[in-house]
Subunit: 211 residues, 2 copies
């Protein structure tokens, strides 16, 4: 390849971001190398550094968490009035829909994959969940122990995404998105408003250290 600027103004920046997202999605932060991303984008690794300074900011820009957060909020608000009895179904539909249809699915998958191996990304995902999803759920709940309920919801959502996108556990991996939403909705609802069986009767257990 000849050196120097190319003729015309090809949108190399976006090309790099797309390639990066693809690699981060399929291999996670650690295994996705700048050289592979550069090859996918038809570009030299140095150009990536020139545009994004280092691998971490490339990761951040490729995933673009604020976009995910905004889309999630919009979808949740568009789901209708915040009736507490329908919240489980709303969350289920919003999340599954978001993951399947939109262009955000790769970003979320990359986030989960990378969080498992990279402590920094793990912190990012944890804070993202806490800040955007859990806080919102917590705020609209009247049942006791809303934070614990919200974390339970998050665990089920994480599990489905893990089984479906990372582990590819059949037949869940190829299940219809709408069906999946309908199936997990009652369980989410149970976590949100159901009886948590003993959580409020601490004489049956050791004292929870966070209370």
């Amino acid at each position: 390849m000849p050196r120097g600027r190319r003729r015309g103004s090809p949108p190399t920046r976006q090309t790099i971001l797309a390639a990066a997202l693809g690699r981060f999605t399929n291999e996670g932060y650690d295994r996705a190398s700048l050289r592979d991303i550069a090859t996918d984008a038809g570009v030299d690794p140095s150009l990536i550094i020139h545009y994004f300074s280092n691998k971490e900011t490339l990761f951040a820009e490729a995933l673009h968490l604020p976009r995910i957060s905004e889309a999630l909020h919009r979808t949740l608000e568009a789901a209708g009035p915040g009736s507490e009895e329908e919240l489980g179904a709303h969350i289920a539909q919003a999340l599954v829909g978001l993951l399947e249809v939109s262009t955000l699915a790769p970003a979320v998958t990359a986030l989960i994959r990378s969080a498992a191996s990279n402590e920094d990304v793990s912190r990012i995902l944890r804070e993202f969940l806490t800040r955007t999803i859990l806080r919102r759920i917590t705020a609209s709940l009247t049942a006791p122990d809303p934070a614990f309920r919200a974390a339970l919801v998050a665990s089920q959502v994480l599990g489905v995404m893990m089984a479906r996108f990372v582990l590819r556990l059949e037949p869940l991996a190829s299940a219809d998105p709408g069906l999946l939403a309908r199936v997990i909705a009652p369980n989410l609802q149970h976590y949100l408003t159901g009886d948590l069986g003993g959580y409020n009767h601490p004489e049956r257990q050791s004292a929870p250290p966070w209370s």
Copy 2:
């Protein structure tokens, strides 16, 4: 350090395995380097290769999946008669108990962490889940679509472990194990024997490709 065999017969093999399990648990397969493991064990990296030939078999021996599998089976059988209505509670108690009390928790955590970034480990975990847990659940179910139900159970279990051990999402991360088992049991039970809301009415969705 002087070369050559040490005086006495210290159980270095076990020391290495313990150090390896610790590193694999906290950092996953990729980020846990042989050199770090060797340092933890107070030993030269070459000794690890001499004992285990390569990193993969060290990983396999440190995790010792057959032990996990056997312990799981024993716990499940000790949980009493396989009544279909109590299966959810049994699985919940067995899994949570296994993860909290015994020495197997690090192995499972390491497995999940590593599966997210390493495709080989991902395959191992998938096959392990399918072979030992899912097949067992599937076999004792009379409800329709047992494989799908088993996969849903697996997703919730995966999610709890992910939130608790990998992401450390509070307050779930510090929740009492027994409480956790009681809380997720009804949802597991719903997946196992409950109404899956539309799964058997395929006119509402696109045909599932695995049927």
